[in-house]
Assembly symmetry: D2
Homo-oligomer: 363 residues x 4
């Protein structure tokens, strides 16, 4: 079973290679009557598209999305919503010098071994360009969540060893504004400044750097997540790990929780409130795999981009030594453009579980 | 869609509550003709069962597994393999004092909110007892992987702040022997000693502590994993995050990879070998979501067990203040019993992707 | 992907061979809080079990069902409901003479070819005994449908060339009573008499005969069925064709509809009623794959049972001529016992689509 | 779970409305390295497209297909193959007079009830136009089957009460040629003449007529089909019943088999052949749900098209009486264009089961 489909009830299937005609997505299962705001979808894509600032790749793509089906008079009809994003700047000539070599830490070798086909024009399906289709579908997921009052916000919480302080409890609207005021998309302006400087220096070195994106979800209803395999955080984790370059996921107390004692980690309930709330939130808003109404939070670790501007020793398909030249266009750090991808995947998971939860008990 | 099924082609569905008649699993999709070694399955369960040492819960369960279907003359027949594990020591009276209260950082509240039913006999479906069914099915997955020469090994790599050194490149057989020589299941004897002492002290405090389990997979064929959503590490991540108490997952360079530069993180190919190998393995054996033939490695973070022997303030279903008494039986640290669960889930993911890869190209 | 699972949201997985320890089923996705009436489930199984009359096989099975999980205080909890039916009268010795031969029009050869394993004890997984598990799960589906007022009724509409007249518009309760007053389960007493005589004569000949089962569904809400592949009648058709010995399915005007003109076949709406009704019902209650609120009706054709009491020429696994003796126990006509299986499968399809429809539009 | 996806391993998702921008399909799971013959795909679409003869609708659509992804140098790459078919002749003005009325025996009412949205431009998603996407994907399935030597052939076996004689055992190539020599697509020339005359007369009446399509599959390997729910004929049946206007499906002896005795219906094996063959083929090439190597055959019943050129009484959305005018373009009989749709769906089922069978036993 091929793996280009995500979600059970709110389900997307993406297609398209970085150097083909177009990429796109079919979203099946969106409830009818949801207002589909094309401008909003495009604005989300604009946050992911290349060439938006000096610290992103200079590939030129307007990433203009077209809706081919599934809407009528500006609303979803219940039928599949197909969206298409033409590729404009394939420039596969940039890659013609790499026809026969395997780029280090790319997917060239593994795709060739798996499929017995080498599409030397570039990353093809393994390119992060595929995530534009996710962002388009994720934008519709966000519209659905908005209908239910659920808010999602992500930002860059680390670039290399530069870490942002924990987010204050500001409204999502405000966090979003602050984040978009800098090109690295960190909601803490002082840290953002350091991050931009760091990435710019790395870029001038022809090198790349890793980073982290952190995400919060507010106003999530209690009860989302399905025991036992489709726990909410397990599906969030899979969603995040399916994004290019992600090497780690943690939620709530995360890795640091493994160093804690139960007596300090347990989230004590506050008596007397209308709906149960807890004093602390080491559970990250999820208990037993099911949302508990507290803020959901998680962090995603991205490795540094593999394409660097240095010459590198490598091998060709015959296993012989070869050299790969540091040409082409690339991102010195992937996290500023990944913020909206993280949000999109989170929105897709939430939308799916929101629908799945509609049949948890008799009505 | 309820979430009690895992895997696409090698697929398990588990059932059963901690305080019901029995738990069990149906494994569908196991290829015919695989020798099914019941003793091996039982020996795997023995590594997970309660009461096996002073640092595990004292609940008495033999966890004796019966195969109800799907085998003939000791081999799989291609039909569903159903396995049953009766519950012997339900002792729900231990929980009778907690009928109406929500235990902190358990799933009592979220299950009640989701389903509108409070089964006050205990954790029910959210109990880690469910994982026994996974271990039974995972044992058959291991038998399938063994047929193809694939090896899986996990051990306790951290208890609280006590971390084991990185595993040496010893044979899996040897690592396994060393690991089983101590009750904490760490393959480094010196660290194991410290870990046991730590857990024992925590236990005497009536408290609990978190930890980590690390896993390696050797001799994995090149090509396992499906772009783009069902990347091998994304499915491993989901599998691990679906285990009770897991709060984090990382593979290859993991979270520390987010602090590295591309020029140091790229895994350079070694020229001249028969099948491509890399000098370093920051990719953790997976590139573009597909196994590359190098050792696969990942680490799983477990939070401390929520059941502690202290009295705790909490609330009841009406939201009123209540106290929960520190009674019952519990694990002071979950990782020694979790080692075999991590291996089982890894085996299930690998077995599934092994079968899925059979149709990646024309034969 | 193995095929032992049916349904998307209300989903069953069955297991077990006719000559193994037990058969059973896991039902996942049943909404919480549904009263689970064990006596009703057993009474449904009693209608399918062998040995119930002179015109069914004399194999002795009480088909006593046990619920292993998923209920508490008589209600569903939202977790998987596992049910077990032990095999009591395996008598595999009856089959010991057939170890090496392929019985004509059975699945002996195809299973052997597919799996490379010959379980010579009997039909194994291809035995209609498997359908007991479906009846148990279907009984719970009926309880869910009853909660929503939906009624299902099937009866034997043909044995060989003896056809029952079309059902009158009697209440389901009344039809059910009439049907259960004869051992062939036809709701028309006069026809039932002829059918019983026919089957009895066939039985004395050591032969078997085919037949048909017709089913109606009343009070089905408008809107069930998913375009375009999961049309309600497409899922009903698959459900029926998955029952042993079924060779045909038609709904509404069925095969005779292919001889009609549009001007006579179109179901004209009746003006002025609260909810749209049609004068005729050639559409069989389903338009565009979606229920329209009219009575749903369909008919299922069963071939004659392959096991006959005559000696038959056949071959063994080496392809050599062999003779198969007319021994063992068998049903001279499968339809009297199939009535409840047809109802069970219909109920499972309806329950699934009822849940699937919960997310068709925004609430 | 929305129902726009078909297949497990060889899986298609279709999208698009009859009066939107385009329709299309994503095919996921096609093994890499399959030659993708675009001309062949187009030639298949040409057999389905409107306006091809005097007995089909005069809607003008060239149905020109574009491949957007998933191929390189003329071969499949293992990634999703997306295909797009623009709509050229929407002419929604033809439907502007029907804005508010429900056409009899169409899906207008049921879609409106299910989704709460009335797209009055025409059939939208319920239009048979959607099947063009299936034909495009089915053409690739045929290419895969051809690689394994499997042949599929369908033709019109009945129009109204005019039935073609059973097909002789001619080569598929020859049957195909004969079929394409007449516009009704019946492989018996004498019957074809009668059928064309019948349809032409019906057309002049402004009426429509039903019919049947019969299909054979040759050289199907033994072993395709998955017990117990995904029997090969159950999946074929669902595939056929999902085609617009289909009201019945039978395979092998079909409905007439229900009138037979076991002693005449059993297919006796022929001793001494290399691979088991049977004297008769009442089983239709499938036993226990698994192909047995004999010719697979089945028949599909189509109701008459609901759009007729007569004025008809009906109701509007308020339930009031209304009249619908006999305008627009329509097919007087759907079967000539349905032949290639039946083949396409059969090919999709076979391709899926071919891949699914790759893991039935250890290799």
């Amino acid at each position: 079973m091929a793996g280009n489909t995500f979600g059970q009830l709110f389900r997307i299937s993406t297609f398209g290679e970085s150097h083909g005609t177009a990429i796109g997505v079919i979203l099946d299962g969106c409830p009818a009557q949801l207002p589909i705001d094309l401008e909003f979808i495009q604005s989300e894509l604009d946050k992911r598209r290349p060439g938006q600032s000096k610290i992103t790749t200079q590939r030129k793509e307007s990433d203009t999305v077209q809706i081919l089906s599934g809407t009528f008079d500006g609303k979803s009809t219940g039928t599949p919503i197909a969206m298409l994003i033409p590729n404009e700047d394939q420039r596969s000539k940039d890659y013609s010098h790499n026809t026969d070599v395997y780029r280090p830490s790319h997917a060239d070798y593994t795709y060739d071994a798996k499929y017995g086909i080498r599409d030397h024009r570039g990353g093809g399906r393994s390119s992060a360009r595929e995530t534009a289709a996710r962002v388009a579908a994720g934008a519709i997921a966000k519209l659905l969540l908005k209908h239910y009052g659920i808010e999602i916000f992500a930002h860059v919480s680390a670039v290399g060893k530069i870490n942002a302080p924990n987010l204050e409890q500001l409204p999502v609207e405000e966090l979003l504004t602050t984040r978009e005021e800098n090109i690295v998309r960190c909601a803490d302006p002082a840290t953002a400044k350091q991050m931009v400087d760091c990435i710019d220096a790395i870029r001038k070195d022809g090198d790349t750097i890793g980073g982290k994106v952190s995400c919060i979800i507010r106003n999530c209803p209690v009860g989302l997540g399905e025991p036992v395999f489709d726990k909410l955080h397990a599906d969030l984790g899979k969603a995040m790990l399916s994004i290019n370059a992600v090497h780690g996921f943690e939620y709530g107390s995360g890795f640091s929780g493994s160093e804690m004692r139960g007596s300090e980690h347990n989230d004590v309930f506050i008596a007397g409130s209308n709906t149960p709330k807890t004093l602390t939130n080491f559970s990250g808003g999820i208990q037993g795999g099911i949302s508990n109404g507290m803020e959901i939070n998680f962090t995603v670790a991205f490795k540094p981009v593999a394409t660097i501007m240095h010459n590198q020793q490598t091998i060709n398909a015959a296993g012989e030594a070869a050299e790969i030249k540091g040409k082409g266009r690339h991102d010195p750090c992937v996290v500023p453009r990944a913020v909206v991808i993280v949000e999109a995947m989170a929105a897709l998971v939430l939308a799916d579980h929101l629908l799945r939860n509609k049949t948890s008990k008799l009505d």
